[in-house]
């Protein structure tokens, strides 16, 4: 499974979405995520990608779109 597919899998698990959000679509702006689903998204990413996201990285803007999440995960991997 590609990284983007993994991200979408987590997003669909925590948000009630009929279709995939566009890579640059704001997940907060579209209402896909809110303050209570965001923590679930972070936990879901940790489980899906078998990583631990430190508290210092808990900046909401990092998780605002599929592209931003992918960039964050790439940066961590790099």
């Amino acid at each position: 499974m590609s990284k983007q597919a993994g991200i979408l899998k987590v997003i669909h698990a925590v948000a009630d979405l009929a279709t995939d959000p566009a890579p640059d679509e704001s997940l907060f702006g579209s209402g896909a995520l809110d303050s209570f689903t965001l923590p679930d998204l972070v936990t879901g990413l940790e489980q899906e990608f078998r990583i631990t996201i430190p508290d210092t990285d808990l900046v909401p803007e990092r998780f605002d779109s599929v592209a931003k999440i992918e960039a964050y995960l790439d940066k961590r991997a790099g």
């Binding site: 209570f36 965001l38 923590p39 972070v42 909401p60």
Partner: protein, 309 residues
């Protein structure tokens, strides 16, 4: 270790329901309740001060303790919404209780102020005997309808707790306090202006830090989260209480909640909840007591107490 001897609280009479907030902010009343769990909050009348509410809560707490003000050795007063930068309301409260040489210290903290006060009282009670912790807030004067996300949440009120070296209904077992200032800009009240809050950041951090702090302290003492009799939390948002309960895998009902009646009263909320819990059904609940709070700073913490049979 010292004891929790009594709690007390005071709430202003004016009730502001979600319909009133909806008319002011343009938000939908039903949606406010769905997203926050809040149905109404109390607002202090014009002219009422943080010290006024604090005095009422302190008096209730002292009455519940069976002690007189003259038996108090130290006052700790938490508020983030005092009328002055300094002095804070602690010295005024002491004077109005008739105490003219008893130390009275301000804790200029917001939501975690009362928990921090109890933790400090625990350590200072061996020297001062009876420590009166008071938390009072008039948040309604610190919000703006132009920021509905914040305006819908907050209310006014005060709570108090008497920590005693000698006796009480529960013995304080341990506590843990934490601070991470990297997110200080996510929730703050400027010296002039209204409350500024990044709700996404606050909830994201609180959702992870609070269960971790509670779990760590309970684990240190060999207690399972499911064995705790009652969780008394800062009443920030009903959905946050449920999320913490879910993460700890304990039933929501174990978390005492009165947020639907008062909204978020910042530092006062934990003690208002504790006072109402104690008044309502405390004797029916066995097992350890956990107090926990998270707020501006970010500061957060947890305190464990065991009830005396």
């Amino acid at each position: 270790m010292p004891y929790l001897r009594s709690f007390g609280c005071a709430l202003p009479a004016e009730r502001v329901d979600n319909e009133a907030l909806a008319a002011r902010t343009g938000r939908d009343a039903a949606e406010i309740e769905e997203k926050t769990g809040i149905r109404e909050r109390r607002y202090a009348a014009a002219g009422v001060t943080v010290a006024d509410l604090g005095l009422a809560a302190a008096s209730d707490c002292l009455a519940n303790s069976g002690l007189s003000a003259q038996e108090v050795g130290l006052i700790l007063f938490a508020t983030g919404s005092g009328e002055r930068c300094f002095p804070g309301p602690a010295s005024e409260l002491a004077a109005r209780l008739g105490l003219t040489s008893t130390p009275a210290i301000d804790l200029p903290m917001a939501s975690v102020g009362s928990l921090t006060g109890i933790a400090l009282a625990n350590d200072m009670a061996p020297r001062y005997g009876n420590v009166l912790v008071v938390a009072s807030e008039i948040m309604s004067r610190r919000i703006s309808d132009a920021d509905p996300d914040t305006a819908i949440l907050f209310g006014d009120g005060a709570g108090a707790c008497l920590v005693s070296r000698e006796s009480g209904f529960a013995r304080i077992v341990d506590f843990a306090l934490y601070t991470d200032g990297n997110s200080a800009g996510s929730l703050y009240l400027p010296s002039s202006g209204t409350l500024q809050m990044n709700g996404l950041a606050v909830i994201m951090h609180a959702s992870r830090k609070l269960p971790r702090a509670i779990g760590d302290l309970l684990n240190k003492h060999g207690i399972s989260p499911a064995d705790v009799g009652v969780y008394l939390m800062h009443q920030a948002n009903a959905n946050l209480l449920r999320k913490v309960a879910s993460t700890l895998k304990v039933p929501d009902e174990r978390f005492f909640s009165n947020i639907e009646c008062y909204g978020n009263t910042s530092s006062a909320s934990l003690l208002i909840a504790a006072a109402e819990w104690r008044r309502a059904d405390a004797k029916a609940i066995a097992g350890p007591i956990v107090l926990a709070a998270f707020g501006a700073g970010f500061h957060w913490g947890v305190l464990l107490a065991e009830q005396i049979a």
